[in-house]
Symmetry: C2
Subunit: 321 residues, 2 copies
């Protein structure tokens, strides 16, 4: 089993790699090779099989052709320009998110080897005028260019699969919390910061109302779902290969209660409540009422409660002192 992770330098890609290293097999076959590809060549991970890093700009068709050989069995395609970047730089978002995905799929079509392709889509495909709840049958009506590009990616994944060029499957990720690492400029950054920073002994700001709801998945469960997603039988996927991953709908208050239940009362005291109207307005525009029946029927899972998310962060990502 020869595996390629495109976007292998990001935190989800590296966690998939680490999980595959531990697991040693995929789709019932021992893993013989793993390549982590990204714009900047990623460091390899420790594994009982050969792991290499590769630099690849997916907007360059020739580079993609060089990256994906006929011996690749499974591709995780996680590479993307993120939402704020794609909104600020329309051209960059189109080139990476839409044409980068197209280049990968076209290479697979040219090879004729029908690799499994796991595509990470986003709940940003949804929005606009559609009524709640947002189900497996709700029209994507993205209100960002990033969401549009992911929605187009889903269309391509489905049709290239229907034609037999790839064996694709796409998963719309809930907001990942608790994300490891540093805060970033995403409007959702605080949804991890308010848990992560206090657990690290650092202060954090919550810019929205404690009753604000949203839809979450832990990194550990996300990676489990993506790996399980790679292992699903094509025959179980039916005529729609893209779906919303299971997640938990939670208020900020529920998340902080879980933090306190797991880590005691001290961390929550490090959260400063400071409404930031611009962030609060963006987040109020996001949808959180999702159904994910198809993913559940296929055995994909949400976290059992947000206490799991807190615990996973402490076990997997808390900086060792």
């Amino acid at each position: 089993m020869n595996i390629l992770i495109i976007g292998g330098g990001g935190f989800v890609g590296r966690k998939i790699a680490a999980s595959l290293a531990e697991k040693g097999s995929l789709r019932g076959q021992p893993i013989t090779k793993l390549v982590l590809a990204d714009v900047a060549q990623p460091d390899p991970v420790e594994a009982p099989f050969p792991v290499t890093g590769a630099a690849c700009d997916i907007t360059d068709r020739a580079a993609v052709d060089g990256l994906i050989g006929a011996d690749v069995d499974v591709i995780f395609h996680l590479a993307a320009v993120v939402s704020a970047h794609a909104e600020a730089d329309f051209e960059a978002g189109m080139q990476v998110n839409l044409f980068g995905t197209y280049n990968i799929l076209e290479r697979c079509r040219a090879l004729g080897t029908c690799p499994v392709v796991v595509f990470t889509s986003s709940l940003a495909v949804f929005g606009g005028e559609v009524p709640d709840p947002i189900t497996d049958f709700t029209i994507p009506n993205p209100q960002t260019s990033y969401g549009m590009q992911k929605a187009v990616g889903e269309m391509l994944i489905n049709d290239y699969s229907r034609k037999g060029y790839i064996d694709g499957r796409g998963f719309r990720l809930p907001t990942i919390s608790v994300r490891p690492g540093k805060p970033n400029r995403a409007a959702s950054s605080f949804m991890s910061s308010i848990i992560r920073e206090p657990l690290n002994g650092e202060p954090a700001i919550c810019p929205v109302d404690p009753e604000q709801e949203h839809f979450y998945l832990s990194p550990r469960r996300c990676v489990q779902n993506l790996i399980k997603g790679a292992e699903l039988d094509a025959s179980d996927l039916g005529q729609q290969r893209c779906m919303t991953l299971p997640g938990l709908r939670l208020s900020i208050r529920q998340m902080i209660d879980a933090l306190t239940a797991v880590a005691g009362p001290e961390p929550a005291k490090l959260i400063r409540w400071e409404e930031q109207p611009d962030i609060a307005a963006i987040v109020r525009g996001w949808r959180f009422d999702y159904r994910f029946d198809k993913a559940t029927a296929l055995g994909l899972e949400a976290d059992q409660s947000f206490e799991e998310n807190v615990r996973y962060y402490m076990e997997d990502d808390l900086p060792k002192t």
Copy 2:
């Protein structure tokens, strides 16, 4: 008002041109220029304003740049490789239907003039696992490459509009009947032939059961809707600029009853019932239970009854003897 019809050599394009010639104005402004563009240069139509034909291959970005000037106010983008062709030749469908549309939109973005763009989409965007009825909020789940390419076109129309690069609107056409002209190789060809050929005094074959239902719109009403679609205020379109055009859900039997009601009992006697299992199987896979609330709210209209479709054919397209 300077108007460009891309796909202006097809029967819908020519009917739009003829209708604009009669109307003389669009969006409240007198029409000053009309260009009909297609792969092969279309003949101009008679009009009280200058009309020219232009040859343009929309897969060629430079040709598209040459076609669309900063003075173009309204573009009707009807050009497409049809369903069977796009299914047989994946590359051709992608190049014309997806990248051709992209080239047009990119040219508009580069111009910065935000022209109105009317895009003809298709009910082929729907299919697969979605439940009936198919509403304005149903996910596109195309089961043909043509449908996928049209669904991607809708995504692009929406996002280029949201960004202010165009003022786009997309309309999913029901099956057009009674189409003028000759039978073609489309599986839906008989849906016009069984009315048109008998009215022309010629025999026709009906390859499906008389109870088979489908979803129809006349050419005349289609053109009225597309022109009205060009005239809608952007502010009335909301966050979803693509919609299913109103149509009539009818059985073959109802269509033939309408033929007889309008033209007497003789034409229907020219229909030979000859089940063709391959055609019947394709048509049974098509959806016909559509809702079109958004289009109706915007003032777009179905035919009142199929008798109108029969009459329109006789008035507009019946070959003069």
